[in-house]
Amino acid sequence: MIKKEMIAMLLAGGQGSRLGVLTQKVAKPAVSFGGKYRIIDFPLSNCINSGVDTVGVLTQYQPLRLNTHIGIGIPWDLDRNVGGVTILPPYERSKGSDWYTGTANAIFQNLEYMETYNPDYVLILSGDHIYKMDYEVMLEYHKANNADVTIAAMPVPIEEASRFGIVITDENNRITEFEEKPANPRSNLASMGIYIFSWPALKEALVSLSEVPGCDFGKHIIPYCHGKGERIFAYEYNGYWKDVGTLGSYWEANMELIDIIPEFNLYEEYWKIYTKSDIIPPQYIASNAVVERSIIGEGTEIYGAVKNSVIGAGVTIGEGAVVQDSIIMRDCVIGPGVVIDRAIVAEDTRVGAGAQLGVGEFASSTYDPKVYQFDLVTVGEHSVIPENVKVGRNTAISGETSAEDYPDGLLASGDSIVKAGGVK
């Protein structure tokens, strides 16, 4: 018989539209992070480090990169005889075929997968946070409380609490009330979107609410369980946890890695983060290069200057180029003499010689001021930026652009060029 005490369901189907052109062609969990990782590496590594060896990854939006990255789970030791990692896309059935319409709906559509493993507990995770967490400790806590649901929650500054889902607890950490983005928060414990359910409670809730359109954990399942009087506890987490849902927080989380002793330390022996490493060679720093306060991935060749930046694997930065306060993802080629200031340049992008990114003064975005508000030049993957053009601040570029796209050789601050298939 197949039996797993706890299995994990990792929600990785979201687009992450607030990452703008970065997620135009890939799901957010597959976006590069920290020079060699992808965001989903963090929850996947947490799973295996916590002894959770059965993980269903629910995909929907642009899954190709995720599928190839995860494969059969070899980098995380999740290639198992029983269990391991399974990619769970939406599927067609004899009647009522559906996309995943909400987080809980996605889990509901995979009841059969979960039942295969006869789990006692199910861990619900999302693929868009950077953190290290021992889910086994959380499970111990769940068991000790004889809980039906345990929600991981972390204290946030009270003035920011109104941006989060807030839980209010009694003296035993049992949750008495929920407030979604309250104007006047009564507690500073924010839900992290990490749940452990006892299997009967989860199954019952999913089945009962299966008809709810867009069934969601935060909006429907948890309130339902609460309404039924189930034992819901808050598990307080006090380590590093970063939501990388906006361009600003994504950029910040990367930059925090280059601190002398980063709060989120990738260099510790304990609790390693695993990823698919297909670029092996060492990096080369040339005689005229300058590299300061940066992290740099494998196989990258640096001939120019790099300061306060996170550079991915397999990148080339040409002679005389200056890159600062920026994120350059893997396989990019930055031409000679290029100047890049405060930019996020996604994978496999080519920046022609002498181009300047991040010039002039900040201007609010004419394209999507909600997404592009952090004074960053954001360049989508596989883009091309021609030689000698100037790109203003707080801009977005995606696709193969040519000199004609830049009137007078300039993309003004706040403007954008989003080619073929661009989504807002």
């Binding site: 990823t275 060492p282 720093i285």
Partner: protein
């Protein structure tokens, strides 16, 4: 595939000095991210050779660890695999491998039980990229009994540690001198051989019957007039790392763009065991020039014309020049290292100085206590 592979990785060499104290040469870390044997294994897998046996003998712990999973080179399939053969005591034999031919003889069942018609034999201590199929095609075209991969070297190099060959116009080897006192020719054997499997079994059995043990001396040299032994000339990068000088030089060769381009950028790739290390980190005070840096390293000082292997830590105000720092070395603050090879897992105390000469590289072995995170 038409061939099985045999990698000779048992060797040790006094020329490696202290570096071979703790590992076989084939397990020697090279070029930051690799081990020497990765090159031959990658060449095998890239040539679609699926069955590969590695013969080990001298201090093979480090090598075994590296080969503990064959997935890195895509071996370990239902058809084929990576086998590690160490000498074992059997009913017929209680000896170590007394030589390369003896090693083959002791594992003759592997040769006999295979079905591929050819065998590619190569050593684990050379850095090169080669499609063995091209050698095999040449072998068949020349109707050769044995094909030896050779390379024309510059006559000013010291070639006395290699086998030297002289060929006729057709490419057939007419003279073969192993490690001569004075080198007379500038074409050397790269230690890579292609031979028909049945032919090899026959030669090895005859060798054993005569109590001969060495493949080069007792087969290549002895049979050169009797068998059709051909030289396949290789014209791309090749170097053997089995001496401290050549090891140092081969590593430093990778500071040249053409060498990096050939190995790192051109198809096919060289594979190695992946260590899951974070990207290299450059802190304030880091000043790196013309150097190769591997993942997991943290740099706070000056590094010039050097190669840092994985997980090197360079403290504040350090100056490292023309040196090779092997895996997992901790270098305390204000330390100066020039023209040295620092052995892996060393801990170098702060405020120390190690200086070798450009033509006499110093090997640093320091086993101090380490108090770090």
């Amino acid at each position: 595939m038409r061939a099985i592979g045999i990698v000779l990785a048992g060797g040790n060499s006094k020329r490696m000095r202290e570096l071979s104290n703790k590992r076989a040469i084939s397990a020697m870390p090279v070029v930051g991210s690799y081990r020497s044997i990765d090159f031959v294994l990658s060449n095998m897998t890239n040539s679609h050779i699926q069955n590969v046996a590695v013969f080990t003998q001298y201090n093979s712990r480090s090598l075994n660890e590296h080969l503990s999973s064959s997935k890195w080179w895509d071996f370990g399939r239902k058809q084929g695999g990576l086998y590690v053969f160490t000498p074992t005591i059997t009913a017929e034999n209680s000896d170590w491998y007394r030589g390369t031919a003896d090693a083959l003889y002791q594992n003759l069942t592997f040769l006999k039980n295979s079905h591929e018609p050819y065998v590619v034999i190569a050593s684990g201590d050379c850095i090169y990229k080669l499609d063995y199929n091209k050698v095999l095609e040449y072998h068949i075209e020349k109707k050769a009994d044995i094909t030896v991969v050779c390379k024309d070297m510059s006559p000013d190099e010291d070639l006395t540690r290699f086998g030297q060959v002289v060929t006729n116009d057709d490419g057939r080897i007419v003279e073969f001198e192993e490690k001569p006192m004075v080198s007379s020719a500038s074409t050397i054997s790269c230690g890579i051989y292609v031979i028909r499997r049945r032919q090899l079994i026959e030669l090895i059995e005859r060798c054993a019957a005569e109590d001969r043990v060495d493949f080069v001396r007792d087969i290549l040299v002895r049979y050169k007039d009797l068998k059709r032994i051909y030289a396949y000339k290789m014209d791309t990068y090749w170097s053997n790392i089995a001496s401290v000088e050549s090891y140092y030089k081969a590593n430093m060769d990778f500071l040249k763009p053409e060498v990096r381009n050939f190995f790192f950028k051109q198809y096919p790739d060289i594979y190695s065991k992946v260590d899951d290390l974070p990207p290299a980190k450059y802190n304030p005070g880091a000043a790196v020039k013309n150097s190769l840096i591997s993942s997991g390293s943290i740099i706070n000082g000056i590094v010039e014309n050097s190669i840092l292997f994985k997980k090197a830590y360079v403290g504040n105000n350090c100056v490292i020049k023309n040196s090779i720092i092997l895996n997992d070395v901790y270098i305390g603050d204000n330390t100066v290292i020039e023209n040295c090879i620092v052995e892996s897992r060393d801990t170098i105390r702060a405020n120390t100085t190690y200086i070798g000469a450009p033509d006499d590289v110093k090997i640093v072995v320091e086993k101090n206590e380490r108090y770090t995170l």
